[in-house]
Point group: C2
């Protein structure tokens, strides 16, 4: 039995509370499907570590983590003591770039048992994947400020789109669309307003599309696309987007499906040159930390995505089914209208698996 080495990075706040349940569920699946897993826990990245060391992680973080098959990540951030751009650029965004996790993948599904904020939608109506470019684009630290402190002050912020960066995320998205029954890909753009990068993005989509004649692809400007997520989410299958647009859509999509508190995400290096990272969409939620009431489902769903990426599709499916059953039958944490604790929900799901 191959043993997969997983690094456990619980991080801050509720990251620390949901992590044990994520591990519990993966353990249950590993037992059932005979998968070997070895967990190693790290105290960093975290804001506590930052307060002690003046940085989110030790300098040799890359060497320390590079041998792992995956990073199982809770949440990072504690804005009262460390500004978000410090904690996140010092951890999550470093992983994404340095480990070349150029795909951010988020399933968006309307599930039974989850109240949907949209009127007249039923389970199954929303079922899409957001494929987000995860290393370049609008998220950049290139640029600067001039005439600081005067009336003429201004700031330049570069967005950077490389052919390598754009093409590989498009390829991933077209290939994902190929595996889906609808074979439909939507590209998010804003080429009518942002006049250099976005026309380039459109151009690469069209070029890549030539390689996938069986995929129907269309494009929407991000403003109307956001509107369509609310008005007709059922028309989307795979949606590919730049770093910023993907960020927006992959919160908006789960919000429309009522799953923002339970949505998972995967930061993938598809070539497996570096470890991929699996993290809940929810953050560290300082406001509810310490009460053991955080919903562990996102973390558990992340565990399922992690096993899928490691090659265990059946284990993934069993975990997702267990989550679905728990959403219908309970127990439920307060955010889903129940009174169960994080631990109770985690144990219930592990038991189903």
């Amino acid at each position: 039995m191959k043993v997969h080495k997983i690094a456990v990075l619980a991080g801050d706040g509720i990251g620390k509370e949901v992590m044990p349940e994520g591990i519990r569920a993966v353990e249950a699946a590993a037992k059932r499907f005979n998968i070997g897993i070895e967990w190693t826990t790290f105290e960093w990245p975290s804001c506590e570590y930052y307060l002690e060391h003046g940085k989110m992680m030790p300098d040799d973080w890359k060497e320390q983590l590079n041998g792992y098959d995956a990073l199982f990540f809770g949440a990072v951030g504690w804005p009262d003591t460390v500004p978000d751009h410090v904690s996140l650029w010092g951890s999550l965004l470093k992983f994404r770039r340095q480990f070349d996790q150029y795909i951010n993948l988020r399933p968006v599904r309307l599930l039974p048992g989850v109240p949907c904020p949209l009127a007249n939608k039923k389970p199954g109506d929303i079922d899409m994947y957001i494929v987000r470019e995860n290393t370049e684009g609008e998220y950049s630290s290139v640029g600067g400020r001039m005439f600081e402190g005067t009336d003429r002050e201004f700031v330049l912020q570069e967005a950077i789109f490389t052919r390598t960066g754009v093409d590989r995320v498009l390829k991933f998205a077209f290939e994902l669309a190929q595996k889906r029954p609808k074979k439909h890909l939507t590209s998010a753009t804003k080429s009518n307003g942002i006049s250099i990068s976005m026309p380039y993005w459109d151009e690469r989509v069209d070029a890549m599309g030539l390689n996938y004649p069986e995929i129907k692809h269309d494009k929407y400007h991000i403003d109307i696309l956001a509107a369509r997520f609310v008005l007709s989410p059922e028309r989307f299958d795979v949606v590919v987007a730049s770093n910023l647009f993907g960020d927006i859509l992959s919160d908006l999509g789960p919000a429309c499906a009522g799953t923002i508190g339970i949505a998972p995400s995967a930061n993938l290096n598809p070539e497996r040159r570096f470890p991929s990272l699996f993290e809940p969409v929810h953050g560290s939620a300082p406001d509810i930390y310490g009460q053991n009431i955080a919903n562990p489902i996102a973390m558990i769903w992340c565990g399922a995505m992690m096993l899928d990426f490691l090659g265990y599709t059946e284990a993934h499916d069993a975990m997702v089914s267990a989550v679905e059953r728990c959403l219908v039958d309970g127990p439920r944490t307060p955010d889903m209208g129940g009174t169960a604790s994080t631990t109770e929900v985690g144990m219930a799901i592990a038991a189903i698996i």
Copy 2:
């Protein structure tokens, strides 16, 4: 009686169909409230003009339009013959920049008689203004491409935030918030990911906030803000945003309120050094053009905003009430579930006014 000179720029597609109804409604209000209006019609900007002249407008467009008190604008765009970035950068975006219409203002309201795509919301639950910076930020033509056609190809796209540009939109937004009962301002940011421009934006918001101690202001990252528009739109009052974020929110907001087809927008030069421009949020809609079924309400609502800006608040209120009554009692165009024509709805609203 002062006579206001209004330039009529119907543009393309349904812009040409809704414009007569916009004029009809403004005329009705002008008659009732004794307002002098002189209309002058222009054949440009339009894609037809482009096909004939190779540009969207004559070279002296600025001189020709500069004397008007307002531009009453339908919609521009006909992507089958002229790419959107050509038609829009050649018209609308030129107006915004050259006439320094630095405020894009959009009311978002859940109205009686309008089906809302969100579950469990009732009229009044959504009532906010989006204040969008309208001249700089992410909408820029600065940047370029390198290593064209090779594997190393990349594109740089600059976003530009000036202190002048940021402060004046913030000032407008804080002052608008001051006139509202809730006195609440939300700023859209993404300072946790976009690490130069957005921290600067936040900094200016905090600085401006010091001048308005009675306004409660908070900030949300654009991803979670988009989600909140769907999950709890009632918590927003005035939302201020950069050009791109404002663009997204001001389509998403009306989508959540069910009004995307009938939403108005104003492009304002608050100092009145240049004419301001009033345009429906909907575009030229080539797919329904020619059938006289486009909903004229957005255009009429724009007329109301125009009169408000010219100083006629009562006329504005009467026009908006007439729109509200028509939404409840009909007649309705097909997009609202009715069978009435553009003209019928326009005439009905004018009659109410």
